[in-house]
C-alpha cells in the first residue's frame, strides 16, 4: 500500500519538475526573442542613420557644385555681354575720328581759312626748331598759298623771338598727293624734321582728346571714379 502512494507522489513530482523545466525554457526563449527584437531595431536604426548622414553630405556637396557652376555660367555670359558693349563703344569712337579724317582736307579748298592755318603751322614749326635756316615742304597744290604767307610767318617769328631772323626755303620735293594738307619742315640738311601735316595734328589731338570724345559722345560715365 505504501509503494502505491509513493508512486503517485513521485509521478506528481516528476510532472511538476517537467513543467518547471518547460516553463524555464519558455521564459528563456521569450527573453531571447525579446532581446533579438531589440537588437534588431538598434542595429538597423544605427546602420540606416549612419548612411543617411553620408548620403546627405554627398548630395549637399554636389548641390553646392551645381550652384557654383551656375554662377560661373552666369558670370561668363555677363562678361561676354559687357565686352560686346565696350567694343561697340570703341568702334564708335574710332568711327568719329575716321569721319574727321575724311573731312580733313575740306579746309584746303578755302584759302581764306587755309592760309592762316598754314602760316600758324609754319610758325609753330619755327618755334620748335629755333634755327636760322629752315626748309619747308608742302603739297604742290599749296605752293602759291605758302609763298604768299611766308613773309608774315617770318615777321611773326621775329616778333615773338625779339629779333631772331630766319631764312625759309621751300623744298623742291613736294608732299605726296595723298596728304590732306599742312607742311613738313626740316633743317640742318634733313637732320631735324618736324611733321606738321593736318593728319599728324589730327592723330595727336585724337589721341589726347579721347576722354573728351567719349564724354561728348556718350555722356559722362557714372561708374567712373577718377577723372584725372
Amino acid at each position: 500500500m505504501g509503494s502505491k502512494v509513493e508512486a503517485v507522489d513521485v509521478n506528481k513530482q516528476i510532472k511538476h519538475m517537467m513543467a518547471f523545466i518547460e516553463q524555464e525554457a519558455n521564459e528563456k526563449v521569450e527573453e531571447i526573442d525579446a532581446k533579438a527584437e531589440e537588437e534588431f531595431n538598434i542595429e538597423k536604426g544605427r546602420l540606416v542613420h549612419q548612411q543617411r548622414i553620408k548620403i546627405q553630405e554627398y548630395y549637399d556637396k554636389r548641390l553646392k557644385q551645381v550652384n557654383l557652376q551656375k554662377k560661373i555660367q552666369n558670370s561668363n555670359l555677363q562678361n561676354q555681354a559687357r565686352l560686346k558693349v565696350l567694343k561697340a563703344r570703341e568702334d564708335h569712337v574710332y568711327g568719329v575720328v575716321e569721319e574727321a579724317r575724311r573731312r580733313l582736307g575740306q579746309i584746303t579748298s578755302d584759302p581764306q581759312r587755309y592760309g592762316p592755318v598754314l602760316q600758324a603751322l609754319i610758325v609753330q614749326g619755327l618755334f620748335q626748331l629755333l634755327e636760322p635756316v629752315v626748309t619747308v615742304r608742302c603739297r604742290q597744290a599749296d605752293l602759291s598759298l605758302v609763298q604768299s604767307i611766308l613773309d608774315s610767318a617770318v615777321r611773326q617769328y621775329k616778333e615773338a623771338t625779339k629779333g631772331m631772323n630766319v631764312q625759309i626755303k621751300i623744298d623742291d620735293t613736294f608732299l605726296p598727293a595723298n596728304v590732306c594738307g599742312g607742311v613738313e619742315m626740316h633743317t640742318k640738311g634733313n637732320r631735324i624734321k618736324i611733321v606738321n601735316t593736318l593728319e599728324s595734328r589730327l592723330d595727336l589731338l585724337a589721341g589726347q582728346m579721347l576722354p573728351e570724345i567719349r564724354t561728348s559722345l556718350f555722356g559722362r560715365n557714372m561708374n567712373r571714379k577718377f577723372d584725372d
Binding site: 508512486a7 513521485v10 513530482q13 516528476i14 519538475m17 523545466i21 518547460e22 524555464e24 525554457a25 519558455n26 528563456k28 526563449v29 531571447i32 533579438a36 537588437e39 534588431f40 531595431n41 542595429e43 538597423k44 546602420l47 540606416v48 548612411q51 543617411r52 548620403i55 548630395y59 554636389r62 548641390l63 551645381v66 557652376q69 551656375k70 555660367q73 555677363q78 558693349v85 561697340a88 564708335h92 568711327g95 568719329v96 574727321a100 580733313l104 575740306q106 579746309i107 600758324a120 610758325v123 609753330q124 618755334f127 620748335q128 629755333l130 611773326q156 623771338t161 625779339k162 631772331m164 631772323n165 630766319v166 593736318l198 595734328r201 589730327l202 570724345i213 561728348s216 559722345l217 556718350f218
Partner: protein, 121 residues
C-alpha cells in the same frame, strides 16, 4: 523502482526538449540580426534613390535655364547697343566738328623756358 527509471527518462527528455527550444531561439536571434543588416541596406538604397531623384530635378532646373538667361542678357545687350547708337547719332556731328576746329585752330607758342637772346642767330 521502474518508476524511477521512467521518471528520470521523462526528465531527461524534458531537459533535452528545453535546451532544443533555447537553441532554436538563439538561432532565430542570429537570423534576426542578419535580417537587420539586409533591411537596413534596402532602406539605405531607397533613401539614396530618393535623394538622387531630388538632386537631379534640382540640377536640371538650375542649369537648364541657361538659354533663358542667355536670351535675357542678349536682349539687354541689344537694348544697350541700340541706345548707344542713338546717342552717338545725335552727338557725332558735334564731336567731328569740334575735332576739326581743334585741328585748324593752331596757337603757335614759344617754349616757356626758351631764351632767344641766348641762342645767337
Amino acid at each position: 523502482m521502474a518508476q524511477n527509471n521512467q521518471g528520470i527518462q521523462h526528465l531527461l527528455q524534458a531537459e533535452k526538449k528545453a535546451s532544443e527550444k533555447v537553441a532554436e531561439a538563439r538561432k532565430r536571434k542570429q537570423r534576426r540580426l542578419k535580417q537587420a543588416k539586409e533591411e537596413a541596406q534596402a532602406e539605405i538604397e531607397r533613401i539614396h534613390k530618393e535623394k538622387d531623384a531630388n538632386f537631379r530635378a534640382v540640377e536640371s532646373a538650375t542649369l537648364g535655364d541657361k538659354d533663358k538667361m542667355a536670351a535675357q542678357i542678349d536682349l539687354e545687350t541689344r537694348r544697350k547697343l541700340h541706345e548707344m547708337d542713338i546717342l552717338v547719332g545725335n552727338n557725332k556731328e558735334g564731336v567731328v566738328q569740334q575735332l576739326l576746329s581743334l585741328v585748324y585752330n593752331i596757337k603757335p607758342e614759344m617754349h616757356p623756358n626758351a631764351r632767344p637772346e641766348k641762342l645767337g642767330a
